[in-house]
């Protein structure tokens, strides 16, 4: 794993053209995310939080402004290098899981390794490792349709982890899950942050969850940053994530 870089957004703006009119989804946001932080982006629908996340994750480019990750400015990277950034530096999970339905869980998790041309012998080991980390080792041969929502999102997490990225972006990861499964996911995210030293950037509109798990909460409204404050950390995460996870698992099954 490469040393975790910090993320710096400098006056980032993103405009969408809808016919004649121009919609400014993100309007001049400047934000620094230090390495290893768990940041929650909060805001109502249309506040621009997902657009900002997409740009930070290298899926989209800002209309103006710069996004610096380590020594790279994402706004100026070639499409190939941006793809490489997504492949090597970033892991991503979505609200709708986005596992490919035609593949087994194992194959879904293997996909990023195929894309980064990891040797076949390494792949099996890393897929196994990632699935074990999200406690899905036993379901590796199942297809997404045979898994519960929580299991699918955990599979998606394994897929995001398998390339050992230093930053994980999560776009409403709990949006399609009940509270128990949502909590499991956030426990895993927290675990990645604390044990793997990953930077976590999560978009959510559930303030209580954000306050429980994140270190810092940034709130957006109409494309502008309206508040940026550390979250009131609760002690729920100690003594051990594992114990908390097992508790949640017990409720789940």
């Amino acid at each position: 794993m490469t040393p975790t870089p910090s993320i710096q957004a400098e006056n980032v703006t993103r405009d969408y053209h809808l016919g004649e009119s121009t919609v400014r989804a993100v309007a001049g946001i400047t934000l620094t995310i230090p390495a290893g932080e768990f940041l929650a982006l909060l805001g109502s629908s249309g506040s621009g939080k997902s657009t900002l996340l997409s740009m930070l994750a290298g899926l989209d480019r800002p209309t103006s402004g710069a996004i610096r990750v380590g020594d790279k400015n994402l706004a100026e990277l070639s499409p190939e290098n941006l793809a490489r950034y997504r492949r090597e530096t970033v892991g991503m999970v979505f609200q709708s899981f986005n596992l490919l339905p035609r593949m087994t869980l194992e194959e879904n998790v293997e996909l990023p390794l195929r894309l980064s041309e990891v040797s076949r012998s390494d792949r099996a080991v890393r897929v196994r490792e990632a699935l074990d980390r999200v406690r899905l080792g036993a379901r590796s041969k199942h297809r997404p349709s045979e898994l519960s929502g929580g299991e699918q999102q955990r599979g998606a997490l394994a897929r995001a982890l398998v390339n050992r990225p230093s930053i994980l972006f999560a776009d409403e990861p709990t949006g399609n899950l009940d509270s128990v499964n949502g909590e499991q996911i956030l426990l895993l995210l927290k675990e990645f942050q604390t044990t793997l030293g990953m930077t976590i950037v999560m978009v959510t509109h559930e303030r209580p969850l954000a306050e429980r798990f994140a270190n810092r909460i940034v709130t957006l409204s109409d494309g502008k940053l309206i508040s940026d404050a550390p979250a009131a950390q609760q002690s729920v995460l100690s003594p051990s994530n594992q114990a908390a996870f097992d508790r949640a698992q017990g409720v789940n099954s």
């Binding site: 997409s54 994750a57 899926l59 989209d60 499409p79 190939e80 793809a83 490489r84 950034y85 997504r86 492949r87 090597e88 970033v90 991503m92 979505f94 709708s96 986005n98 490919l100 035609r102 593949m103 996909l111 990023p112 195929r114 894309l115 980064s116 041309e117 897929r159 390339n163």
Partner: protein, 534 residues
Amino acid sequence: MKARDLTELAIRNLREALLRNSLTTLGVAVGVASLVAMLSLGIGLQTLASKRLLRSGLFDSVLVSSGRGSRGGPDGPRRRETRDANNIPVALDDAALQSFQKLPNVSEVYPQIRFSTDIRYLRPNWGLSVGMQPPPEGEPPMFGKTSHYPLDARLLNVTTNALGIPESSRKGEAFEGMTGKFFSSPTASEVILQSELAKEIADKASTAKPPAIPWMGAASGTVGKPKSNPSEPATSSNTTAATTLAISPADLIGKQILIRYAERASFASAADRDDALLESAISGQLNGSLSVIPREKMFIIVGIIETDPSAGMGGFGGGRLYLPLQLAQSLKVAQPTDMQALLSDSDSTKPTYTALTVRVNSPKDVAAVEAAIKKMGFNAFSLLDATKGLRLVFTVFDLFLGLFGSLALTVASLGIINTLVMAILERRREIGVLKALGATDGDVKSLFFAEAAAMGFFGGLCGVALGWFIGQALTWGTGLYLRQQDLPSVKISYVPWWLALSAVAFATLVSLLAGLYPASRAARLNPVDALRYE
């Protein structure tokens, strides 16, 4: 992404949307199949034509006749009467033959020996009687020293043209597919029958009465029969006594026939013979330089051929009975030109030929050789122009078949484009996910390309198989029809390996081209939009 992973993913994707993709593949297959079937028909017909016509010798030979015949002189206008005193005729003799052989690109020169003959069929086991037998009723008396008259020589009254076949035909394709064997040697007393002739002989031999021998009464058939072959089955012995036997054409192979012909002999050489007196009695006039002597000779039937190979043997049309050319030459059969030679050049004792066949290495040499021979003052004739016409017809024919096939493939390509464009709509999300996971535009493009190529490749394979099958079905169907018409069945569809390979390559290429637009569209897809798509 590595090529292996790409292929795996592409095949996996194809396998998953099995129905839709197999329908597209089927579309390609049908396109390729029609292309292959049509081209294979064209190639098959062309092969057939070149086998039966081109390579048989019709188009690589020049027929040379003496400049004096009724075919017209070497320099243009046809002259029915050759009384031109100024035009010193050149003789079509051995010297001419050798001069033709020296021309460039000439592979072979041989005389055309064709004569009219009368055939008698002999039952093999009855043997020949010793001594002279009186001729059967209605038959002219026999002459010459071979006038042992077989007791059971059936009176067939089959008159036909015999044609000398050069030894080089052994390797040619004209005798391909014959029943029986080619002549065992260039001098063997063997004949090959054309199937119609064989049928005629068999029919007549089945129904003809054995020659009546006046002093032996009605039971003539039994005279020569017994003792000669005790191994012959009893039933067969019994039926031989009857006046009718069923003989099929195929039964004729290995049997003997007696061929009667007219031998040309100059009087001087004829005088050396022990039967000179007889001959002179026939020829009637002892002061002529030429005499014609009826002869007969026993031949063994070694083969029966369906199609008339004589078309290629230098004769344009001709005999129904074929014998080795060298043997035919040694028979010194009287030729029509003998008469002309006698009339125009009374002191010529050298034999001249009615016609010579000059075969050249390839049809393209025909024109030059023909011109050279004409320059020597002979009458030369070839079917070169007909070849050109024929080839043009087949080229155009091929072109048309290919055109229709391409049309079919165009439809199939549209099917591929449609499937792939639809696949993009359906798989926007998948493309978005791939891109979010770090797939480059190139990866996405390659994946769609690989899928298009795979569909094209498999479609091509199935199409070639299907096309071959259609060709076989057509061949089978025509074979059935031809058999009903009593014709030999032919292979009208032919899929050479290069056609199979290029059809698969073509299908793959067309599919790649068809996938070009959908693939680049998929690659350009914005991952954010693609992921938002539900």
